[in-house]
Symmetry: C4
């Protein structure tokens, strides 16, 4: 069996400015797209980023190997362009296999950490 | 292709009292409705606010341009009326195009930040 | 039009021990069930609480008036029994009208606040 | 009546390193799978864990008794193997009864607490 959807969206997106802990990747402020591929074949994912004041950027391409999870940091995307910091964005994920997508942010601009997470929006009709 | 729903609701809503950082908009306590419009035409959105002890207020009207995201702060709504602070509210979004909606709060009443976020509730039958 | 579902569940539930700010209700550690009723008639809600080691308790009965939101604190439930603190629980909401339900916790056991929120689980077949 | 789904996934998973409060289980950094079984019979759950760089591990087996909630800490899973700390993972839950699943993390690596929570992803077609 499989689980997930082939089309997902995250309407929230914002990578905070560098903070107290950016020398330690565990504590660096970041946003993650947590992808799960339970299928027995690799899932090829294309990501489009949307902004408030410019045309979409992408596609970014990542592969989630068969039976693996990929906790992709938006901070690490570079091709075709890095994700600007302190900038509102949103993202759409299209996959050739059903996957599950969850959105998480760690904000370490202050010494205390702040976390948010939510299941992303799955397009049911595209499962 | 498109993604989203034309009808959404956020049952939680509360803008905290002014706090430590209200002179810096990045850190001002706020609630945001993060809207994503992947369509090639603008999405016109009407927002109704619901309260615990008075009639609904609205409609507020915003446009999410084609292929754009809008991270709308409830703090910034003024017409027909500003959103009262320290007051429970909820909101309903109706759009002429499918959009995706995510709800986020930053609470900076204390020096440490607190964050929450969730996908809003999409009415499936109206997609 | 209406929006929501008549049957909802929140699998997480935990009211933290009293903390630093329990004299100020804004900062008292609490869990809230944020209910939105956009209908033109009142919604009558029955709530059952589930525990890890005892039979369910309830029904609790609340009314969400027509065109109102109710941010109900589990801390305030008393009939048929208060919600025990520092105890795992879960909850099921059944309504005679479609409503929207979001779950939020404020944890103020430490001077810094922590927040979580999520849309609850809606039973689609009962909408 | 019942509520829930028989197949769920959580794409995010990460147990932080030991922190300030690990001698008090209330404050120990942890991840929880909050399960609710409203049925009048026990729900038998098998859990598979997925990683970024190795084959899935499992099944883990837990029972959620009839009319009970189980707030299962991933920290406590030991058979067939403990969950590695500071390691990205994801999880899939398959049940013989419909249950509801919510994902929560408490991060106490710093003196201030951070919380996240979200409803997990339910496979609709398997309800």
């Amino acid at each position: 069996m499989t689980i997930g959807s082939r089309h997902w969206a995250i309407a929230e997106g914002y990578i905070p400015a560098p903070g107290h802990d950016d020398d330690d990747p565990r504590f660096e402020s970041h946003e993650a797209a947590c992808l799960l591929n339970v299928n027995d074949v690799d899932a090829h994912v294309t990501i489009m980023l949307y902004f408030s004041d410019r045309e979409p950027v992408g596609p970014y391409r990542v592969t989630v190997p068969a039976r693996r999870t990929l906790h992709l940091r938006f901070n690490d995307l570079t091709d075709p362009a890095p994700v600007p910091r302190e900038t509102d964005y949103a993202s759409v994920f299209c996959c050739d296999m059903p996957v599950v997508l969850q959105h998480t942010r760690l904000d370490s601009r202050r010494p205390a950490l702040a976390l948010l997470s939510t299941i992303a929006f799955a397009e049911n009709s595209s499962g």
